[in-house]
């Protein structure tokens, strides 16, 4: 199939799939979101952006113009607004630029995700605009993270960028994305992201999300990891601004021998948010390994479904799932769904799951140390949400720490 044929095939399949409901999460009427038009133009200098937008972007840990020296990509609604390439070993392109390249389209465009998977993938192909492409060059290590921000500002926006990240062999790449919406914005985000982690490469992907109370979020993500490659996924949604619904179930294909992945998710459910979030791994590479860790805290009347699945089809696969949920009040709820399966015998797959309240014993302990009750609860919740993610640059660790401190104070 040549490039033109591939695009035609994708569009046709998408058109046929526009009514396909996703088996998880509440349904959303996509058609009511796909009418809005572009509202932003690309800027040379980040200082030209409205101040409230810059502040909101900072709240999800992204500092585009500031002290942090990094390559950056900013998309507001449908438009690429700002792009900066700082390091020679990391290429940053907009998807539109990358689509001019035949090799790129054939090898990386919709190769990991079925465009007909559901109405969101279909709509993303047909109506989505923008997206970043990040490529780390062979044998290169770039410690400074690439920052990408996808932002919803308009109303009733359907934001569906298609992002593609490629780590060429023996390269190390760190990507941080902050996704946010202006307060009270009604919008639907269905970003598509494909990762190609080639031989002996390492990619860390940190996502910090904070949407608005009226937003529906349906990202679709898939990753392939080749021999000796490592993919670290670190999802943080402390939901400070609330959201209407979020459903996502990214999958990592451990195709290569000795490939590995670590997927963590930290979620706080507030107000009446509905969150259905999972992490899936399909291990077909010999001696590949996977670890999935999730921490969910439910408050108010929020509902959180926390899914995790490791499927093994190769010998020597090791996998572990750890799902923990903390219910802070009646009326909110957490469902954990850990799944393990294998069709070969030589594997080690384990899981542990726990859901419950904060231990009174721990609260009492902190009280005896002179900590007041509210603070004790908040320290324990903060401690509960602490996950040590391997391979992260200290810069990202620091950013996350600051964010966690400021966003868990009132829990």
């Amino acid at each position: 199939m040549n490039m033109g044929e591939k695009i035609e095939f994708l569009n046709n399949r998408a058109k046929m799939s526009l009514q396909n409901r996703c088996p998880y999460g509440p349904d959303v009427d996509v058609s009511s979101y796909i009418k809005s038009e572009n509202s932003f133009k690309e800027v040379e200098d980040i200082g030209l952006l409205p101040e409230n937008v810059v502040e909101r972007i900072k709240s999800v840990g992204i500092d585009l113009g500031g002290s942090i020296k990094s390559s950056s990509y900013l998309q507001i609604d449908h438009s690429l607004v700002y792009k900066r390439k700082l390091y020679p070993n990391v290429e940053i392109l907009s998807l539109d630029e990358a689509l001019n390249d035949k090799y790129f389209v054939e090898n990386y465009f919709w190769n990991l995700i079925d465009v007909g998977q559901d109405k969101f993938t279909a709509a993303a192909q047909l109506y989505g605009k923008g997206g970043y492409v990040i490529i780390s060059k062979e044998n290169s290590i770039t410690e400074s993270p690439v920052q990408a921000c996808l932002f919803i500002k308009g109303t009733e926006v359907f934001q569906a960028p298609h992002n593609i990240v490629v780590a060429e062999p023996n390269s190390v790449l760190h990507v941080v994305t902050g996704c946010a919406a202006m307060p009270e914005t009604v919008g639907l985000h269905a970003g598509i992201t494909e990762f190609y982690v080639k031989k002996n490469s390492t990619v860390t992907f940190t996502m910090i999300h904070d949407w608005s109370r009226a937003a529906h979020v349906r990202p679709r993500t898939a990753v392939v990891v080749e021999d000796g490659g490592t993919f670290i996924n670190n999802y943080i949604n402390l939901n400070v601004s609330g959201l209407n619904s979020l459903q996502s179930y990214p999958i990592v294909y451990l195709k290569g021998e000795n490939s590995r992945t670590f997927m963590s998710s930290i979620i706080v459910g507030r107000s009446n948010s509905y969150i259905d979030l999972g992490s899936a791994v399909k291990a077909t590479g010999k001696n590949s390994s996977a670890e999935i860790i999730s921490r969910a805290v439910s408050t108010d009347s929020s509902k959180i479904v926390s899914r995790a699945r490791i499927s093994s089809e190769a010998s020597g696969v090791k996998g572990h799932i750890e799902c923990r949920g903390l219910i802070l009040n009646d009326g909110s709820g957490i469902w954990t769904v850990p799944e393990l399966d294998s069709i070969v015998k030589d594997v080690e797959l384990t899981h542990e799951a726990a859901v419950g309240k904060l231990s009174e014993e721990l609260i009492f302990y902190l009280l005896t140390k002179g900590i007041e009750r509210d603070e004790a609860v908040s320290m324990l919740v903060r401690g509960f949400l602490e996950v040590r993610v391997p391979s992260l640059p200290t810069l990202i660790e620091k950013q996350i720490k600051i964010l966690m401190e400021s966003s868990t104070k009132f829990l």
Binding site: F364, L367, T368, K369, G370, E375, L380, F384, L385, E386
Partner: protein, 252 residues
Amino acid sequence: MLLDIRNLTVEVEGKTVLKNLSLSIGFGETVLLMGPNGSGKSSLIYTLMGNPQYKIKSGSIVFKGRDITNFSTEERVKLGLGAALQFPPKIYGITLRNLAKKLAKNDAEIDSTASLLNLTSFLDREINVGFSGGEMKRVEIFFLLLQKPSLALLDEPDSGVDIENMTVVGKAIGKLLSDSNNTAMKKPSGLIVTHLGHISRYVLTHRTYIMQNGAIICYGPTENLVNDVLKHGFDWCIKCYDDRLSCKQVGE
């Protein structure tokens, strides 16, 4: 009197753990509390700290002249009670330093106190996660030193502590109970629960209480009592008490 416990009866899940117990500690005094396993020593510590599982059925606790029988844990700690628990819980996600920062004046105090207890390399570890019994004891004393209570309740600070660290623990408790560790420059008081009495070699105590079945059965000068217990065991103590009881009954 700093602490005056009168006729205290306490239940946990319907089971009586303290029976008509009376005990008092003066300002600047340190007393030892000994007794066999299950005699109610730790129950007394939990009750004094206001653990809600320990229901006071009768009697009273007066601390610094105030009846704190119905006070919450927070109120008791504010008033100057502090405890080093025998079995502190593991706390995932909170490091020693995180908690110490809430209690200490400054970072220098954290560092010097940690150094005193050989805990410098533990400061950035999660509280009690993967710690040995002896390490947990040191952690408890570390927090108490930062907390600076007027009355320190120490539950078995010497059990599980190896010989090398016994001196460290002894020295730290000595500091805890010395006047230099109190902002008001008043010598703090202590109640030290011990099973084996080792700690009495490191800390000067004013007297020793012996506990059995949730009640105080004897008290006297530490030197005599600890030696007797170590020599003859608690059974001897209990027999002595029973004998005294029967004498009393005969006398009556």
